[in-house]
Every structure is written in C-alpha cells, then in structure tokens.
C-alpha cells in the first residue's frame, strides 16, 4: 500500500508541477493547489488518475490566518487511495470556484458553504437557499459568529426561565399552587 502511495505521489508531482504533493501522515495523499489551478487539477485527477468519486467538499474557517480552506476529498475505486485537494482562499471578499460541471452533487456543497460561510463560488452565482431561509445575519458557521449572543438577541426567555431557578417553583411561588412532593427538586443537604 505504501509503495503505491509513493508511486502516486511521484506521478502526481510530475503531472502537476504547479501543486505541492505530500503523503499524509494518516493515510492518502494531499495536494495543495491555488484557486486558479483548482478546476484544472480536479479535472486532471478525474480524467487521468481515476478519481471519479467526490466524497466531500468541506470548508474550514482559519480565522487567525484570515483564510478559508476548501478541502476536496476524492476517492479512487480502483487504487483505493484517498486524495485531499486543499485550497486556501481570502476570508474577506474571497471566492471559491465551482466544480459542479465536473460533479453535479458539488452544487449542494457549494450552496451550503455559500450560505454558512458567506463564501461565494464563481460559476455558481445566486445559488438556491439550502438550509437557512431569509437569513440576513452574519453567516453562522464563521468562527466569529457568536451563537449565544445571537440567540440572546433574537429570542426571549420563557417566563420563569430568566434565571437558573426551577421553573415549577417560580410559577408556584407566583400562583401559590402547591407542588407535589415527588416534583420538589432535589437539593444537596
């Protein structure tokens, strides 16, 4: 297996001199591409190396480096070697590039990344909404989107739930209703 991975790494470095090709510590091969080369690289891998199955497209927000990382995970059914193609993009005003003409299912991944990270894709303009309908806030999967602050702002507490007190005892305190013994919350003595 490791021989075949080394062979693949060698032939990929020869075939794609514009990318850096490395053998991954946890198995498989990793390619780092630039955005300009990405579609060409993926099409080349698909046509000449048998990487027909697009397993996954993921996006990771590297807030500290002000970058998004798109990860394309490909699988070859013949050689059974996993391939990662990674591309780093600017976090502000950056954009990815669509590969839905190569794999139709990429459209769904791009729709989700566009709405969850606010990262548009060239060639997939105005994608249909996937999960979030009528969302006008910051894209929620970005690292700097604070879920707790958002929910404090958007929703209000149920009466009796403003603090961490037991709801039943708060309500019974107001109405004078007696709590059955079985429902009294246990407190450590």
């Amino acid at each position: 297996m490791s021989d075949r991975i080394q062979d693949l790494q060698k032939s990929l470095s020869e075939g794609l001199p514009q990318c850096s090709v490395e053998i991954r510590r946890h198995g498989g091969v990793e390619l780092i591409s630039s955005k300009e080369n990405l579609v060409g690289v993926l099409a080349y891998l698909r046509e000449h190396f048998g990487y027909r199955h697009l397993s996954h497209i993921s996006c990771v927000d590297w807030l500290e480096q002000n970058q998004f990382e798109l990860v394309y995970i490909l699988w070859n059914y013949e050689s059974r070697i996993q391939l990662f193609v990674k591309v780093r993009l600017a976090r502000v005003n950056g954009s990815g590039i669509s590969v839905r003409h190569l794999w139709p299912q990429a459209d769904t991944y791009e729709r989700e990344i566009a709405e969850m990270y606010g990262l548009p894709f060239d060639g997939n303009e105005n994608p249909r909404e996937l999960i979030l309908e009528d969302w006008d806030n910051k894209p929620p999967m970005r690292r700097d989107f604070d879920t707790r602050a958002y929910s404090k702002e958007a929703f209000y507490d149920r009466p009796g739930r403003e603090d961490a007190k037991d709801v039943r005892s708060v309500i019974s305190g107001r109405s004078g209703e007696e709590i059955p013994e079985i429902a009294i919350p246990y407190t450590r003595k």
């Binding site: 027909r52 397993s55 993921s58 990771v60 990860v71 995970i73 794999w103 299912q105 929620p140 879920t147």
Partner: protein, 367 residues
C-alpha cells in the same frame, strides 16, 4: 393544447416523506415536470455546537445526526480521534463495535422494509418489521442503556462490556429474524403489487452513477461492487467473510433486492463476530475528558452505513475542542441532486416510493 402546470408541496408534514423535509413539485396531470428539495426544517446547528464542546461532549451530539442508525456516527468520530491521537483500540472493543454497527444496520433495514412497503400501500409490513426491530432495540437497551441513541462507542473502545448472557440473546434474535425473512418475502418482494410498483421505476443512469457520488445500496443496485467495508476496511471487517450483493436493474426493485440480500449478510457477520469475539479489555484508558487535547491534524473517516458511505471530516487545531467536524451523510447526495433528477418525469404516486428507495434522511442533510 398545453396542460396546466400546478405546484404541489409535498411535506414537511406528510406520511410519505421520510422525515421533515419538503419537495416542491411542478406537475402536469400526474407527471412531475420539476422537483425541488427544500430542507431546513430540522437544522439544529450541530456542527457549530461541536466547535464549542469538549471532544467527549461531542459524542452525545453526533449520534443524533441520524435517527434510524446512529452508531456509524459515533464510530466515525471515535475512529477520527483515535487516528489523530494514534490511540490503539483493544481487539475485543473492535469486535463489539462491528456487532453494534451490524445490529444498527439490521434495525435500519427493518425500518426501511416498513417505509418502502408502506409507500407502496402494503401496510402490514411496517407493523411487522417495526415490531421485529424492537427486539434489536431491546438488545441495545440492555447493552447501552438507550434504545435509539446509544452513546456507546467512544474514543479508545466502548463504554461497557457485554452483559452476562448477552451473546446468547443476540444469537436468538438473529435466528428469529432469519426465520422472519420468508414472511417478509411473501409480504413484500414476492408480492405482485410491490413488483409492479418497483420494477423500472426510479432508474439511475448507470454510466453516471459513479460520477454523481452515489453510494451504498443505490450504487450496488447499479451493478457496482463498492462497499466501504471491502474497499477501505475498518475495524475487523477484513477478518470476516461476507459478500457484497449487487444487482443490475438500477431501479427501485434492484435496490430492494440488494438490501434484502445484505440483511442476510449482516446476520452472518453477527454470527461470525459472536464466534470469534476475543476476551480482554473493552477500552483503553483515555485522558481526563475535561482536559483532553487532541493533536493538530485533519482526517476523513468513513463507515458503510445502511444507506452508504457515511463520512466525517474532522479537523483538530490541538486544543480541547474540535476545530471542525463536517458530516457527509449519504442522503446529502441522494436526497437532493439525485432525488431531484429521478423525480423528473416520474409519476406523482411514486415520489415517496423513490425517496424511500434512496434512503433519504433529512437529519443528516442539514445536521
């Protein structure tokens, strides 16, 4: 004369829909012109939530990503952490994990038997198969404490050892399920109603099946012998004997036959597991969960779930919380691009039938 085009909204509350999602259909008469999948009724923000939880706290979240079959999620996450850390898993724990995964596959197929026949109007089957699924849930309850969500597999092994006499109970349930198969065949696969509804319906283009990212029973129904358990073996699957059934029809019928034959294979796998299960530890000691830091790195792990390749892309930045956990459910591809394509030109009555045959599962589409 041009027929009038009508818009129909199927779901989110509809008995034929496999969960909370909606399919917007443009129909002329009974024929579907266009279909659009709308998800978003079940988005719980799990992937965001995982980024602010400790590694250990992620386990109760991931199992809720897939209701009928939660265990591949736990296994994927556990294996991702183990690969990143280089942590060994005792052999006994690996065998127990395979047993749990295969029991979950059986439970999931039993639900699917019910759903698929129910959407063809055969309502006895759901009563029987869901009833029989309860015997598997009883086993899960005894083993893990939970019937549907187990939170049983964790990094380093499994949470508990098998209880006293558990192996016998598992084998008894397997014998029972095997006997029941002929009744299922009578009710479903040998039933001419089912055959007429299923044959030639929801046909996937074989040439495109690989390029479209189709996995699991729909891919094997197109004649491709691809299964993660064989292609990229994990746990102890390479030590077990089992077949990967394929069919060539590419239609709902082919997918049904594939699942039906896989059911027998899973029973055989569980019997082998019970025979070969070694003794020893069932977990390796893990660090204090509150201060558990996973070395930086990223990994993609996958499991063959009942619906196909279930993948997790896990990124760690070396801290005590995951940087990113991205879930790839098979339904993410099957239930959106493929379903929309297959529904074009289909009959209105076949919508839920086709949907069931693809194993559409909204919770894993939107997490």
């Amino acid at each position: 004369m041009r027929e009038k085009e009508t818009t129909l909204y199927l779901g989110p509350q509809h008995p034929g829909i496999t969960g909370n999602m909606m399919v917007k259909l443009k129909v002329t008469g009974d024929t579907i012109v266009r279909a659009e999948t709308h998800v978003g009724y079940l988005h719980r923000g799990f992937e965001k939530l995982m980024e602010v939880r400790n590694w250990m706290q992620v386990f109760p979240i991931v199992c809720r990503i897939c209701v009928p079959e939660p265990d591949p999620n736990e296994e994927n996450l556990a294996r991702a952490i183990e690969i990143l850390e280089g942590r060994e898993v005792p052999e006994r724990a690996q065998y127990i994990r395979v047993m749990v995964l295969e029991l979950a596959r059986l439970a999931s197929y039993l639900l699917w038997f019910g759903g698929q026949s129910g959407s063809a109007g055969l309502y006895t089957m759901p009563q029987w198969s869901v009833g029989d699924r309860d015997y598997i849930l009883d086993l899960f309850e005894e083993l893990t404490g939970g019937r549907v969500y187990h939170m049983y597999i964790w990094a380093g092994g499994v949470r508990r050892d098998l209880p006293e006499g558990f192996a016998d109970k598992v084998l008894r349930v397997m014998d029972y399920l095997e006997k029941r198969l002929k009744h299922y065949d009578n009710l479903m696969l040998d039933n001419s109603i089912f055959q007429k509804r299923a044959q030639g319906v929801g046909v996937i283009d074989r040439e495109k099946a690989l390029d479209w990212g189709i996995v699991g029973p729909p891919l094997r129904g197109c004649g491709f012998k691809h299964d993660v358990r064989i292609d990229d073996p994990y746990l102890v699957y390479d030590k077990l004997q089992f077949e990967v059934p394929t069919e060539t029809g590419c239609d709902v019928w082919a997918r049904a036959l594939v699942r039906r034959r896989e059911f027998e294979q899973s029973i055989s796998i569980i019997r082998q597991i019970m025979e070969k299960m070694p003794g020893g530890e069932f977990y390796n000691k893990v660090p204090n969960p509150l201060h558990w830091k996973v070395p930086a790195g990223d990994v993609y792990v996958k499991t063959e779930s009942a619906r196909g390749e279930f993948g997790y892309y896990v990124v760690s930045d070396g801290s005590d919380k995951p940087r990113r956990v991205h879930v790839r459910g098979p339904a993410y591809v099957h239930g959106i691009t493929l379903l929309e394509h297959l529904l074009q030109g289909a009959n209105l009555a076949d919508v839920s039938f086709i949907m069931n045959s693809l194993g559409t599962c909204p919770p894993e589409m939107e997490r």
